[in-house]
């Protein structure tokens, strides 16, 4: 019984952390249809910015915020210089964002070097719930993730601003004929998505050793999270997708090597993708 609870707790924590990591992509891919292959690089960049600022003495939370802003700016530059010309060509944006990943990774290697970096855990220790011990930082991140996703979903689905943004995106042609600023809205969404990716990278950084490729791991996972959950379903989709990809991996990892667990989950995700391209909940 105890093990079951601890497995579930573990799975939940991992689900929420993965949800945080995938959320930036869920926004960009889900709302404006850009297949952002640079998502992983944005996570990595966020981690490095956080490392750099905390090493310079900036307190952790501020560092993470700065990292998010930094990555948002990078994302906006990418959007402004290149991506905005290719919104109608998903294949091209796929390749271009991939090129962004290649270039950004090299820049990171040049600027920061390839040694592993460590970001100090701002909340060490664990919270004791009797039978279960939850690492304090992980717990905090998981909670934050839930709040962030919930709040963002609230903004996009319940506030006027969010409704306007979604309406505009769904009816691009009409909106632009009406003189509404479509390109500014797209920029806004791309910037937010990038910023959240940077934020996630920063927040996750204390939990791993930072190297130029940490974002990679999350790239494919994030895509599967979004696809399995259902593209465009920011709240439920991200959470369900994350539970499937992250939580299932944890559970499988109990029975086999970590590597196999991940491969099995990928295979399952591919199967789901084939049978339910609109997300695991929807009949296509």
């Amino acid at each position: 019984m105890e093990t079951i609870i601890s497995v579930l707790v573990d799975a939940t924590l991992i689900t929420l952390v993965l949800a945080l990591a995938a959320f930036g992509l869920a926004i960009i891919y889900g709302l404006i249809g850009v297949i952002n292959m640079g998502h992983g690089a944005m996570l990595t960049l966020g981690a490095y910015f956080t490392w750099a600022t905390t090493t310079a003495g900036v307190p952790f939370i501020l560092a993470v915020i700065l990292a998010a802003l930094g990555v948002a700016i990078v994302g906006l530059l990418l959007e402004h210089i290149i991506i905005r010309h290719f919104y109608d060509k998903p294949f091209d944006t796929l390749l271009l964002t991939w090129a962004f990943f290649l270039i950004m990774t090299e820049v990171i290697k040049i600027v920061f070097g390839t040694d592993f970096r460590n970001v100090a855990n701002p909340l060490p220790g664990a919270i004791d719930f009797g039978t279960i011990k939850i690492p304090a930082y992980r717990g905090a991140i998981a909670l934050f993730s839930l709040l962030l996703i919930g709040a963002t979903a609230f903004v996009f689905y319940r506030t006027n601003l969010g409704i306007k943004i979604r309406a505009l995106i769904q009816n691009r042609e009409v909106a632009s004929l009406l003189g509404l600023n479509v390109s500014r809205t797209y920029k806004f969404v791309f910037g937010i998505g990038s910023g959240i990716a940077g934020l996630a990278g920063g927040l996750i950084s204390p939990m791993l050793s930072v190297d130029p490729y940490i974002g990679n791991v999350y790239l494919v996972r994030s895509f599967f999270v979004v696809i399995v959950g259902g593209v465009g379903q920011l709240l439920g989709g991200t959470l369900i997708g994350s539970f499937f990809i992250g939580g299932a991996e944890t559970i499988f990892a109990l029975f086999s090597k970590q590597v196999f667990a991940q491969s099995i989950v990928f295979l399952l995700a591919i199967v789901i993708l084939r049978y339910r391209p609109a997300g695991i909940l929807k009949q296509s």
């Binding site: 294949f91 796929l94 270039i103 599967f224 696809i227 295979l267 591919i270 391209p277």
Partner: protein
Amino acid sequence: MTQRSEKQGIESAAIRSRNRFSEEKVAVIVFIIFALLPIFITGYPIYILPQYMLFGVLAMSLALLWGFVGILSFGQAAFFALGAYTMGLAMQTNFGVNSGYIGILISPLVGGVLAAITGYFLFNAGVKATYFVLVTLALSIMIEQIAVSQSDITGGWNGMYIDRMPLTFGTFGEISLFNDIPAYYAIFPVVIAIYVFVRWLATGRFGKILIGIRENEDRMTALGFNISAYKTGAFALSGAIACLAGALYGAHANFVAPSLGGVLFSTEVVVWVAIAGRASLLAALLGGILVASLSNYLSTITPDYWQLVLGIIFILVIVFLKGGVAGAISDLSKHLQSKVKR
């Protein structure tokens, strides 16, 4: 949905390509040069060139899929590595027949079957081309990780050593491939043969149908073509070729490690093919050889800056030069031809 050709011209893949004859002429010249090269150059370049040629074949396998059908795969290197590991395992067997031949025979089957199963599963359901890219990316990661984890079979991170096979001719004796020159002249004809075969397919009925699918799937379906069968066939063929190239690479380099099948290498192949020109098999072949050799040379000097430059060229190609270098040359020659006609 496949990626359509666009104004900036993947025209070199047009069916009744008048350029066809000039590509063949260029190919002959290039192959003659390569055939004569060992006479003028010795040492490391001759040692390493067959491996670059095999990278070229790998690039060509992607060009077949991407240039002709319009399907992008980020997983070609996975097949390449699979081939190398297959050769490695084959060389460990002892069935009385030349183990190398076993590797050469089995590897395209392994690649072809794996690709066929994956392709059938996905294309039959009409999975979107963009999702297909993600799936091949995921497969790349999976194969790299399996190669790492199954260390008793594959040697894990440390890789696997592969014996160099000899060329045996039954009772007529054998030729050792231990030295550079015999190895060069053993692999080089195979590369030509693969090129000729794929080119023959691509300019014939099969290739034309693939182009039709790339250009307008709905129309092809309405004309009675089973497009998912053709896509699966193209994917199977490209997987088989990549796998065979990998097996030969393994036989030549005598070593394979998981990174050979990983994401980085897979996507590098995409970059090579994009820059060289995805619709031209010869361009992909040469592009693979050229970029691989440049990469290797510059890696030792400035690895990071070279990758950076490559990435920037990649972006420039996607934005401005859709058909790659080959497309640009083709457009230019057509432009000049039309000027001459006046």
